[in-house]
Symmetry: C2
Subunit: 223 residues, 2 copies
DNA sequence: AGCTGACGGAACGGAACGTCTCGTCGACCC
DNA sequence: GGGTCGACGAGACGTTCCGTTCCGTCAGCT
């Protein structure tokens, strides 16, 4: 006669758990998050509604878990380190853009970002599980660049990371202009100008001609 | 015997319109957007539900109009121009931070941003009515700075604007760290390093000592 | 004076919500 | 191997809110 209300994880049905998560990703892709219902997930998964409510607190929580499982979070988020910070950052930002453009990634991410605005609990989990690892990995790479002298010493690396990802998310969320890889390149370009060492006259990275302003990168903008 | 379904704006009851908008802002503040219902707005406004559905297509549309009316959009969004781009940008970003920290602004903005992720129609209106004017004004100010030689010639001003606001929105929406005025200052600082002329050795703005790294601005970050 | 159409109010069917109650079934304990 | 426990699938339940439809009233126009 305890509190009578805490389910026992040891007795949880793994089969049902997976079926629910699978149904959730499928349905988000098919009808979108807004029209997604717990009842539909239960039906698709061949599961009682209560089994969902027993283990998750809300539709958002299910979708978050489903998204984490599907996107294989927990994998290696660390950046490549070629020694060339510009090259590495460009790779990451381009990859981010590519992800954000893919519907299977775009739709749940948008939904979770939106839902996070109204559910602080979900927000924390979403940021910590999905976003933070990427930001942290980028910060780590920047720290390396800082030690190598490619990034100025005084720079606040948290701000530096947001200087890179902020513009991307801004454009993605608000759709003020198309989100392209060229845009990512331009952002990297500008951000590195901000972060680079305070330039003792012309000493900004070996200064190979054409390196600073890559071919088509400039036209990332135009609202 | 026309299509039978287009209401006549000339016969619209202005009193009801205002009552609805007022009720909407009040209720968003009291119960939040998620728990806000059209029925509650109608009741509070002393209005039939149909009167709301006649003039607005969704809860989001009502809240958007209410927010626009309440925030006095359409006012002058143009930036001050003191001739000092850093000073002017710092004023704008600080003001933006202040707004985003005020609940009366924060709550509806979050709700509309979230809702925009699921309603492209609403998204467009929101961005165009609320956001775009500010971005455009900032871009205009940057154009002036560009002509004055405080911003490099080749810079894409659309990207420049997002380099400023992107980090702010990123931190505001995702709550990765506290959104402070010091953070705004740091962002302005870094952004201007990126945008400034390509510095013919030490020529980065007159270089008054302590100007580049304002007192407490550095500690805007730390996740 | 007679129309017209927006109004406040209320009732409606329908969709999901989240809770609750069944009977079943598998895992563990004596 | 019989008994206990609790998660399970199924689905009924009351509730809330949706968006629509009807009604009688009322103000402005012709």
């Amino acid at each position: 006669m305890r509190d009578a209300k805490t389910p026992d994880p040891a007795r949880r049905n793994e089969r049902s758990r997976e079926a629910i998560l699978n149904a959730a990703v499928e349905l988000v892709g098919e009808v979108g998050y807004a029209r997604l219902t717990v009842e539909a997930i239960a039906a698709r998964a061949g599961v009682g509604k209560q089994t969902i409510y027993r283990w998750w607190s809300s539709k958002g929580a299910v979708v978050l878990d489903a998204f984490i499982a599907w996107s294989g979070a927990g994998g290696d988020t660390s950046l490549p380190d070629t020694g060339d910070i510009e090259k590495d950052l460009r790779a990451v930002l381009r990859a981010t853009v590519a992800e954000l453009r893919e519907p299977r990634f775009d739709l749940p991410s948008r939904a979770l970002t939106a839902e996070s605005q109204m559910d602080p609990e979900l927000a924390k989990q979403f940021v910590d599980a999905v976003l933070r690892p990427h930001l942290e990995a980028t910060k780590e790479r920047l720290r390396g660049a800082q030690k190598a002298g490619q990034v100025a010493k005084g720079i606040d690396l948290d701000v530096a990371v947001e200087l890179l990802f902020g513009p991307l998310y801004h454009r993605w969320l608000l759709r003020t202009a198309p989100l392209t890889e060229a845009y990512a390149d331009t952002v990297v370009d500008y951000a590195l100008r901000a972060l680079g060492p305070s330039e003792p006259a012309g000493a900004r990275t070996p200064n190979a001609p054409g390196k600073r302003a890559p071919k088509g990168a400039r036209k990332g903008g135009a609202a």
